[in-house]
Amino acid sequence: MSQFRAKKLDLSCFINVRVLRDHTKRKVFEQYETERQALRYIIRNTTLPGRARAQAQLQLSQMHCYTRSTQINNRCIEGGKSRGVFKDFRMARYPFRMNALEGNIPGVKKASW
């Protein structure tokens, strides 16, 4: 949501609205991670009173969806694609191939045997 979005653009890779959204989600997740973990701890702890645990459950479920890690999706930094993205290179398969053949990615070589 736009309330979390940075007022000034802070990305230097390929930018479209989906990349921007994902980046915003990442930052929001980082911001609220400790809060979420604390609530999760309260929920999982069976030695605490049931009322407190139920309250924590409610609070966790009412947090904004951007604070969830499951909302985050790795996207290609070259073209913003979400499918076929190599996690290690943060690139979709085609930009990865192009860059690898040009020799821009250290340690990657075309295999032939």
Partner: protein
């Protein structure tokens, strides 16, 4: 040879103290698992490359030093050249309208008259 359970518990207690774990012989669900997890936020948020200082930022920062400092911005020059060419071909952006009347003139299509919209009466 069997070892008494109290002895095993003692051993576990010492083990937990050494490795700074919580001693929990009843195996209660205390949720310590959650506390032991590492925070993933910083690594997750660092996925996309962040913007570093650009020439535009530098220019803005050192505004008063234009005579002494010479900067160049290829992208900006390309953009201006493209605009100039577009204007020469008559494809540039229209001029900014200053008054409300001027802007009103162009706005939207001419609306059809009311009579044209109303359905004609048909006689049988």
């Amino acid at each position: 040879m069997s070892v008494p359970q109290s002895r095993i518990f003692d051993l576990l207690q010492v083990q937990c103290r050494i490795f700074s774990q919580t001693f929990n012989p009843q195996r209660l669900r205390t949720g310590n698992r959650v506390l032991r997890q590492r925070l993933r936020g910083p690594s997750v948020a660092a996925y996309y490359p962040r913007r570093v200082a650009t020439i535009k930022d530098l220019k803005k920062l050192y505004k008063g030093f234009d005579e002494e400092m010479e900067t160049w911005d290829d992208d900006e020059e390309d953009r201006l050249e493209h605009l100039l060419l577009a204007k020469q071909r008559g494809k540039g952006a229209p001029k900014k309208k200053r008054t409300a009347e001027e802007s009103k003139k162009i706005k939207g299509k001419k609306k059809p008259a009311v009579a044209a919209i109303a359905p004609k009466e048909s006689k049988f």
